[in-house]
Amino acid sequence: MLNFNQLKKNLKKDFSGFKKVKLAILADNASPFTNQVLKAYGYEAQVDFNIYEADYDQISMQVLDTSSELYEFKPDFIFINKSTEHLLKEFYKLNRFQQTLFSDKIIQEIKGYCDIISSKLSAKIIINTFPEINDSVFGNFAAKTNTSFIYQLRRINLLLMEYAQQCKPLFICDIASLQSSLGYQYAFDPKMYITGDMVYSIDFLPYIAKNVTDIIQSINGTFKKCLILDLDNTTWGGIIGDDGIEGIQVGYLGIGKAFTELQLWAKQLKQRGIILAVCSKNTEEIAKGPFEKHPDMVLKLDDIALFVANWETKVDNIRYIQKVLNIGFDSMVFVDDNPFEREMVKTAIPEITVPELPEDPAEYLLYLRSLNLFETASFTDDDEQRTKQYQEEAKRTVLQQSFESEDDFLKSLDMMSDAKAFSTFTIPRVAQLTQRSNQFNLRTIRYSENEIELIAKSPDHYSLSLTLEDKFGDHGLIAVVILKKQDDITLFIDTWIMSCRVLKRGMENFTLNQLVTIANENSFKKIAAEYIPTKKNGIVSAHYKDLGFTADGDKWILDTANYIDRTTFINKK
């Protein structure tokens, strides 16, 4: 982690060209350093923060008065930073009975903030958990009585996490957990607190900036999707080609525990929806041996979406993995014990994240955890199925090679799609697609679950979510269209997104047929559309032209009256 002073030098650098994000900081403590470090850390994440920092200790004033600077500023994100130190002071003012109700009071206050903010602004709210201070009034007995500060504090953290599960715009920056890994002695500087009411040490501030930025980035669609593992001395100890299955260290042999625990972690990531891939300089058959036969291997072949073991360079192999998975290099993490390989990959593919693993495998996991590589803004049931879907895709690729024509191949897949308006069940996944899709995304507008709910209810909008399944498996919900009434005869395609997992299936044709049906059923004569180019959505630059729309300035128009259904091999479910 860069230290505060190194980060501060970023302030003089050029932020132009970075994504602009409006961030309001409301703190109960003196926050000028928090402001500086966030702005400076933004450079590392290529974000240009435009920051509004409220005056000292003005959280309630700014939030409750809806004509305050906060509302005028119209932030994208609001970081509400309350400190344990101030909480403690508040707690000491109460009588014994009030102290037992302290956590409920604080949570009510936070709920009040969130309610007012979300009624006036579409901003996401980030609130921190409270680092623990044991004030040593009760000693260890504090953990056995509800009148102690530590009891109330821990309960606040728990209630806050519970509340965040219901309150969609609320995200939690877990400062409590940061502090438990670094320690209060490290995170807090009594001199800065006494003389300036600053509650975070100079050394701790960069960690707060990183975590707040990680949350913002993941909400804005930048996060990791894939973990690529090297094998020898990364996934297991030793070299499979030399040591053989009996000789590699995993499980109980040698320092095998270090590798087993790394594998357990990788498996949890996989279950959370991170795609695991293997990239190893090995003979494929030998490299797969431990996955198939070693009793102590946690990772099995089933867990690996893409297994690449050969004697090509890692750079070529990672490029191949990127192509097959069809995700950006910036969403991939490559873990390899060999500094030479790491350097080669980093130089050739600067976008990819390559952690500088410690020399001792015993330290791998602690180090990897400390990087917070896999921040996410959502988790849905669909995420768990991802590995299976990529493996099914590999089977389809094999089948496709056996057909003469693409149509014959598509016909043989027996594809079905469920196309319908957004519902309670689909809204979380729909919002997730708008946040995550970068390539097949015509206008790249990000929507929160709240906003999608409003669209689903709006009389001026028509929505469509589409699934796709075939004889190999179910892709789940893979496409989203939002239509907005532009005038009495025209519907405008506000959003058209498709997962890249289902490219080249004729899903576009099927979707357009559905759109025209919606237009006709509701007496619209035209469908208007727009393509807004970004760095990543080049694959759909000719989308509307290919679908028979006519150019009209920078917009596209389709006459629905003369529309003839486009050929598709997908049947409506």
Binding site: F4, N5, K8, K9, K12, P32, F33, Q36, D189, K191, M192, I194, T195, G196, M198, S201, I202
Partner: protein
């Protein structure tokens, strides 16, 4: 440690923290002589000096410093204890 040596090392810390190569400190230099030396940067300077010399100063000591010379004297006193 010689007082000129302490001043030299403090000067290097000022250059690094305030990100200004042109800073030349004398014992008489005060915060009003250096544009970047505001109250916020002062906190950062103190933290950096404490780290560099591996000494902790009391809050009262820090408040008493009216120029760089007094800062360096305090450093030397602690180092020679």
């Amino acid at each position: 440690m010689e007082s000129s040596e302490a001043l030299k090392q403090v000067n290097a810390i000022f250059i690094d923290v305030l990100d200004n190569e042109d800073i030349v400190l004398t014992p008489e230099t005060t915060a009003s002589d250096i544009e970047e030396w505001d109250s916020l940067n002062h906190i950062q300077l103190v933290v950096a000096i404490e780290k560099h010399f591996k000494q902790r100063f009391t809050s009262a000591e820090i408040q008493k410093w009216s120029n760089v010379g007094e800062m360096c004297d305090a450093i030397q006193q602690r180092l020679n204890k």
